[in-house]
């Protein structure tokens, strides 16, 4: 089981849910920037939620499936096609060997995810298949995909086998068949052109001037071209502190909004270093990591303050929806197999 890379696209990497458990050694988390999108894609093809898939950035790759595959596309709408026909997002799709996946214009968002039943079977490094480009760690030889790469795919789970049998009739007239159902829109929101990102106060919030605090919650901040998987440098009103005590390095993580002396904030993403010494003004809530990750350079972000209790309620609601999707797929398969 494998897929091959005909053209690599702008930045296509193997990602799972990250390298958990090594941050105390300085090893960054990595993993999908829009983790919910990858989890949904995995659920749709019967994979464990942390299976490795492809993270596809703005300009998509051309991928050929070398074996019959069950796939799902989520996240950004980068105008995907299968053998030249528009391919649907957010549903399982059975594809014959030889089918070619390509992408076109970025319609909404900038990171699409491709899950393949069985998961990308690249070797685990420190318990994860996520690519960490700066250290050349994990993924496919520690790097972004290149033309000619042939990635191994694991074996179908029992759920994937059932989904495959459901979708693939005995003889096909088309190179691919999509399910007639899809994941709930609540789990697959269309990325917004002017996203409002919710955040809670960071540990050093109180050190900032009232004017800076107000500006942060009320003014737009534009994502500069200095944006990668480690973080986005933002441009907006300068944010300054009343007092500037020397800070000792402490933990930073995905979503941490830190403010270097220049006053222009940086919001950290999955490849963030594990510790930092800049004041932490705010922390983006986990439920909005996807919206943040789907915003591209040039886009303006607005930040909205929420309480910790609200942030955690939104976190739990998101987990509940993922749980419901998993159950819905299982029930669907149960009812169909019972009716046969």
């Amino acid at each position: 089981m494998s897929l091959s890379v005909v053209r690599p696209g702008l930045l296509t990497t193997v990602q799972d849910l990250g390298r958990l458990g090594y941050q105390h050694l300085g090893v960054v988390l990595s993993g999908a920037l829009d983790a919910v999108a990858l989890r949904v894609a995995n659920l749709l093809v019967g994979n464990p939620q942390n299976a490795a898939g492809l993270e596809i950035t703005l300009l998509g790759p051309i991928i050929r499936f070398e074996t019959d595959s069950l796939i799902a596309l989520t996240g950004a709408d980068l105008s995907p096609t299968l053998d030249g026909q528009p391919a649907p997002l957010h549903r399982p799709v059975a594809v014959w060997a030889g089918t070619v996946l390509a992408f076109g214009a970025a319609r909404a968002g900038c990171r699409a995810y491709l899950a393949v039943a069985g998961g990308l079977a690249v070797p685990q490094v420190l318990g994860s298949r996520a690519t960490y480009l700066r250290a050349g760690l994990g993924g496919w030889h520690g790097r972004a995909l290149r033309a000619g790469d042939e990635l191994p795919v694991g074996t179908f789970s029992p759920v994937a086998q059932q989904l495959w049998q459901l979708l693939a009739p005995a003889s096909w007239s088309a190179p691919w068949v999509a399910a007639r159902w899809l994941a709930s829109p609540a789990l697959c929101p269309t990325p917004h052109a002017q996203p409002v990102i919710r955040a809670v106060r960071g540990p050093e919030y109180e050190q900032f001037t009232e004017a800076s605090q107000r500006a942060f919650w009320h003014e737009p901040f534009v994502i500069t071209p200095a944006a990668d998987r480690m973080g986005y440098r933002l441009q907006g009103p300068a944010l300054t502190r009343d007092t500037a005590p020397e800070l000792l390095s402490s933990a930073v993580t995905f979503g941490t909004m830190q403010v270097p002396p220049g006053g222009q904030p940086i919001v950290l993403l999955a490849d963030a270093q594990t510790t930092g010494g800049y004041p932490r003004l705010a922390q983006v809530i986990t439920a909005d990591f996807g919206a943040l990750a789907q915003a591209a350079p040039g886009q303006a972000l607005r930040f909205q303050e929420v309480s910790l209790a609200e942030a955690q309620a939104l976190y739990l609601a998101q987990e509940r929806r993922l749980q419901e999707l998993r159950q819905a797929i299982e029930w669907k398969l149960d009812s169909l197999s019972a009716s046969v």
Partner: protein
């Protein structure tokens, strides 16, 4: 050296403060400044949570004055039945009460062979000039103390070390290098450290170790960890090349 220092742990420590770092982490702050007592208290809780994790604990990241505890709110709340942050704080309060007063894990001192000066330590002369010391004295003072690894961060396996000889403090280079090799040993202000990966950097490079501080194929993947002590051992260039992984 370690015996008299360890007794500091019995000195009075104010109770740690808790604050959230977003919706899936809590920071336990043990003090306001770098001290051995604070470090030992952090290591103690870190070790204890490592041995007796609570349901939903993801990982802990020790720093100079903080232990950041990452957790899964879904598991901690037992799928939404409890408020996750309050629950984690309550668990940590209880763990703090029952944690032993000193770190559970005691590490051996790690010896780091370093070839000082020459091509491997191109800024040794600059440090000597700035400090008014002879290069040999810079080497002697740098390799004399036992350094405590307070924390790892910045890059995989990169140690933040304590106790650089105050006479060796030298400002960073005016022009940072675009590429510093892994293993480079440097000084920046009152800090000394070892680059664990090739990166750009502005530290004054006084030598290089042939050891790999980060090796993803090894278990554990880093040579060092917080709570360890290390000593720099001067070696010759020939010894460096014998020990080096490079061809």
């Amino acid at each position: 050296m370690s015996a008299p220092e360890t007794s500091i742990t019995t000195a009075f420590q104010p109770s740690p403060q808790f604050f959230p770092l977003g919706d899936a982490a809590v920071v336990v702050q043990f003090g306001e400044s770098i001290s051995l007592a604070t470090h030992l208290a952090i290591q103690s809780l870190n070790d204890y949570l490592g041995q007796q994790p609570f349901a939903g604990l993801r990982e802990c990241v020790p720093a100079f004055t903080t232990l950041t505890v990452y957790y899964d709110p879904w598991l901690v709340s037992e799928q939404g039945h409890y408020l996750p942050y309050e629950r984690v704080c309550a668990v940590l309060q209880q763990r703090l009460l029952s944690a032993p007063p000193a770190p559970i894990v005691i590490y051996h001192t790690v010896e780091i062979p370093v070839c000082y000066g020459g091509d491997l330590g191109p800024d040794l002369a600059a440090v000597a000039q700035y400090t008014g010391l002879m290069p040999a004295e810079v080497i002697a003072r740098h390799s004399a103390p036992e350094y405590l690894v307070y924390m790892l961060g910045f890059a995989p396996g990169f140690p933040y070390l304590g106790r650089l000889d105050a006479r060796l403090a030298t400002p960073r280079r005016a022009e940072p290098r675009t590429l510093v090799p892994a293993g480079a040993v440097g000084i920046a202000g009152a800090q000394t450290g070892i680059y664990s990966l090739p990166t750009p950097g502005g530290w004054q490079l006084i030598g290089r170790t042939p050891l790999r501080l980060f090796d993803p194929a090894a278990n554990p993947p880093t040579l060092l960890r917080a709570g360890q002590h290390l000593r720099f051992v001067p070696i010759s260039e020939t010894e460096f090349h014998c020990l080096s992984h490079e061809p």
